[in-house]
């Protein structure tokens, strides 16, 4: 038995403790918004937040995150209304969409620790998430929009 806190809910899983978190989420918890792209921490499609920090779920044994707070794309907001998601919609970022959960969660973590990232900050934080469709330019724009949006919200 492994206990997880996923998107604010406690979940008990009867699962091999060495199973990567990715497959616990996808196969055991039916949270399929987190994607499998490479399995060896090279693409970022499986990115989730563990205690607010981006983590590659494909190489994270589920036992290592027992009791920790895990956020997946499904748990980011109830209505898709997180500032980063809104910015993604405003900039019409996704193409095929497969990488976008990882992109969005990585951007969320970036803006949490750095509300006004430079291009270099964006490159450093986002280079671990590949997009084969080449949505990078819009990702960069959307991160700026989200940053401005959050700044405006804080002022008001």
């Amino acid at each position: 038995m492994v206990s997880l806190i996923v998107n604010g809910e406690s979940r008990k899983l009867d699962i091999e403790p060495s199973t990567p978190l990715l497959w616990a989420l996808r196969d055991a918890l039916a949270l399929t918004g987190t994607k499998y792209g490479c399995g060896i921490a090279l693409c970022g499609a499986c990115t989730v937040l563990v205690e607010g920090q981006p983590a590659r779920a494909c190489v994270t044994p589920v036992s290592s995150v027992a009791g920790k707070r895990i956020t997946t794309i499904e748990g980011l907001s109830r209505t898709g209304g997180h500032a980063v998601q809104r910015a993604w919609v405003a900039e019409d970022v996704p193409q095929c969409g497969f990488c976008q959960s990882g992109q969005i969660l990585s951007a969320v973590a970036l803006l949490e620790r750095n509300p006004d990232p430079t291009d270099a900050d964006i490159n450093a934080a986002m280079s671990v998430v590949l997009c084969r469709c080449g949505t990078y330019q819009r990702i960069r724009r959307a991160i700026r929009v989200a940053a401005a949006d959050k700044a405006a919200a804080e002022r008001s």
Binding site: W23, K35, L42, L76, C131
Partner: protein, 711 residues
């Protein structure tokens, strides 16, 4: 209505009341299908193959026959329908069409997505579907109000009685509309009347792709479903000799281990045990003669064959000029095999029962998927349903059916729904690769520096020889010569030949197909000629693009917007290339710096595109950016190499992708056009490699004749 165009061909339409009380419209595409459909309609009464339905709450649902793999078709096709329907865009939804002959893409003669044909193939037919529905809604309103239909007009989801100002929402009219006679004549708008087409409307699939709810093939879940992985022989053409599954079966969650056509399937409760089980297999392969194959052997085969190819274009007498010339320019150009590396590795889910079969798949080929399942199950077409999911990239890879066959075979064997998931390693090592080719080029320049003779000899494997052998004409495969045989330049003597050499590495359609390599080869050799003549690359092309205004216009636009000829910061260089593919014309200027330590950096790309009528500029822009990133990744990094009959690369460590840090700033300029729509999914790819390579040539003075670009 004077400036409306009457549809030349009366489209067969069938209307009926949908189950939910809405209006449902279906139609057949070809005139030949008319009679058949008309007779079928009289006894079936209800045609489920509808392009659109309107619910009584006003929701317009458009069924999209093409697969959504990022190119925006799930938005573009509904826009065409909504335009002629005069729908309120806020009420428009899209869904994937089932597999049915009614959804055949006339350009592909199959229900499939590829060759940048979705908008081109359905341009007329889906607008006719919208126009017909509109006519019936107008008639319904006129009947309701007991007025002449000529007194009514449509406006964003309503019918309006002009004189009285009364109006009715489409949703309120569906029951009456469904019993109206089919329109005898259809009128399509003149492009100047478009109100939706031409706008950057937001994509309909964006919300689902930002909250995790979009269902890709990988995400399909069915009651009782098992998950499988397949171990394949690493050597192309190899066979299974024997295997031992004992250790695999001891792994918790592994249900079955069985042999299928493509290898050994490990079937388990989920991906992870299936993968562990696969790792635990002990296998002996009969690698066969393919185990000898490597890059040197392949290259030697190409070189040995290159002069003996079929001549596919022969203007004047280029060979004679070459033989007579003392100072001909000659070069050898080579490109490697490339994997598609869709972000979502291959997968499919099949549920085969005695009474039928359902397939859920991220596929570019619904017809081919259905036929594959029919062959394997023996079921007739009407018993094989195909449910298309979102595709996590396609790029041509998902027009294949190998992953479909895996799922169907395993489901037959275990008698349950099965999802087969390929690992990234499977995906890289068992692809159908972009053909590697070997090219000899030669040219003779005239006194004015312009080429008088151009010779291009191509050797490489054929895609069609495997996929569509009946389309190989006289040993020539058009996919190998596109972008080479049709170079637009005014050269009096041109000879292009193709030698088919199939060394045993499977090859397939890869975004922009032949143009992906031939634009690089021809546009870089052209820059070599310009350099030899001491001419500016833009001027040189301008002089040669006689009678090709669409090429010339994009060339001029890209040159102008990039500031061609103006000074650059020190260490920066520009390169340009122009290419036509899939009825669109694209020119790109790349701004590059070259540094022994840092390698090649692409800072800026200016892209000019003429893709005919502009359906959705935002999507066109995104597709150009996308095609540029795809082509740039290949130009800077992409290479599949063969050793001992197997692919050396396995994952993103050795088959790397461009990252956001390496993303140049890309500017897209769309040329306004009244021409019929061209493709947009692929045409952004061909010019980028030569634009970058030409910039590197400008920087170093050494031509780049091989990809990926190395300093």
């Amino acid at each position: 209505m004077s400036n409306r165009m009457e549809v030349s061909r009366r489209t067969f339409l069938q209307a009926s009341l949908a189950a939910g009380g809405g209006l449902l419209l279906g139609f057949e595409l070809g005139p030949a299908a008319h009679a058949e459909a008309a007779s079928a309609a009289s006894d079936t009464g209800f045609e489920p193959n509808a392009w659109l339905s309107i619910a009584d709450d006003g929701t317009v649902t458009v069924r999209v026959a093409s697969s959504e793999m990022g190119q925006g078709v799930m938005t573009a096709i509904p826009m065409l329908v909504a335009e002629e329907l005069d729908a309120n865009w806020k009420h428009v939804r899209a869904e994937f069409a089932p597999v049915d002959p009614a959804y055949t893409n006339p350009r592909l003669r199959s229900q499939a997505t590829g060759g940048s044909t979705a908008v081109r193939g359905f341009w007329t037919s889906v607008r006719e579907a919208g126009a017909a529905a509109r006519e019936m809604l107008l008639a319904a309103a006129a009947q309701t109000w007991a007025v002449d239909v000529g007194e009514c007009r449509t406006d964003a989801g309503k019918v309006v009685h002009t004189a009285s100002g009364r109006s009715l929402e489409y949703g309120a009219l569906v029951a009456t509309a469904a019993v109206q006679p089919l329109p005898e004549l259809l009128f399509l708008k003149d492009p100047t009347e478009f109100t939706l087409v031409g706008q950057s409307l937001p994509r309909l699939d964006t919300p689902a792709k930002t909250d995790g709810s979009a269902v890709f093939g990988q995400d399909v879940r069915l009651p009782g479903m098992l998950t499988a992985t397949v171990l394949r022989c690493p050597v192309f053409g190899g066979k299974l000799r024997r295997f031992d599954a004992q250790a695999a079966k001891r792994i918790a969650g592994v249900r079955e281990v069985l042999q299928i056509s493509s290898g050994i399937a490990v079937v388990a409760d989920g991906f992870w045990p299936a993968n562990l089980g696969r790792d635990a297999l002990s296998v002996e392969w009969d690698e066969g003669p393919g185990a000898e194959l490597d890059d040197d052997i392949i290259r030697n085969q190409f070189r040995g064959a290159v002069t003996g190819g079929r001549v596919v274009r022969n203007d004047g007498d280029a060979e004679a000029m070459l033989a007579a010339a003392a100072d001909a320019l000659k070069a050898v150009y080579e490109v490697p095999f490339l994997a598609h590396a869709c972000m979502e590795p291959m997968n499919a889910t099949a549920d085969v029962r005695k009474d039928g079969c359902d397939i859920w798949a991220p596929t570019q080929g619904q017809t081919a998927t259905q036929q594959t399942a029919m062959k394997l199950t023996g079921l007739p077409a009407e018993k094989v349903r195909v449910h298309t999911t979102f595709l996590g990239g396609g790029f041509g890879r998902r027009s294949e059916v190998d992953f479909i066959a895996d799922a169907v075979e395993i489901s037959i064997a275990v008698g349950r729904p099965v999802k087969v998931i390929w690992t990234r390693e499977d995906d890289i090592q068992h692809d159908f690769y972009r053909p590697a080719t070997y090219n000899e080029l030669a040219a003779v320049l005239g006194k004015n520096g312009l080429p008088q003779a151009w010779i291009h000899r191509i050797a490489g494997p054929s895609i069609l020889a495997r996929r569509f052998p009946d389309r190989v004409r006289d040993a020539a495969d058009f996919t190998n010569i596109e972008g080479a045989a049709n170079i637009p330049y005014a050269i009096p003597n041109v000879r292009v030949s193709y030698a088919m050499v199939n060394p045993g590495v499977p090859v397939g359609f890869w975004r922009s197909v032949g143009s992906s390599q031939n634009a690089f080869i021809t546009e870089c050799f052209l820059d070599e000629l310009a350099a030899a003549a001491g001419k500016d690359p833009v001027e040189y092309r301008r002089a040669l693009l006689v009678g090709h205004p669409r090429h010339e216009n994009v060339l001029e636009l890209a040159a102008r917007k990039s500031g061609w000829g103006s000074p650059l910061p020190p260490g920066r260089y520009r390169g340009i290339a122009v290419a036509e593919s899939f009825a669109s014309f694209v020119a790109q200027v790349a701004e590059v710096s070259v540094d022994a330590q840092q390698g090649i950096r692409v800072h800026r790309v200016v892209c000019a595109v003429d893709c005919g009528v502009t359906v959705n500029p935002g999507i066109i822009e995104a597709q150009m950016e996308s095609g540029i990133v795809y082509g740039l990744t290949a130009a800077l990094k992409g290479q599949i190499t063969i050793d001992r009959g197997r692919v050396r690369q396995s994952n993103f460590n050795d088959y790397p992708m461009l990252t956001i840090a390496e993303m140049p700033s890309v500017e897209v300029h769309i040329l306004p056009s009244r021409e019929d729509p061209g493709g947009v999914g692929e045409p952004g790819t061909p010019p980028i490699a030569p634009a970058v390579a030409n910039a590197v040539f400008a920087a170093t003075g050494r031509p780049v004749r091989r990809l990926p670009v190395r300093l």
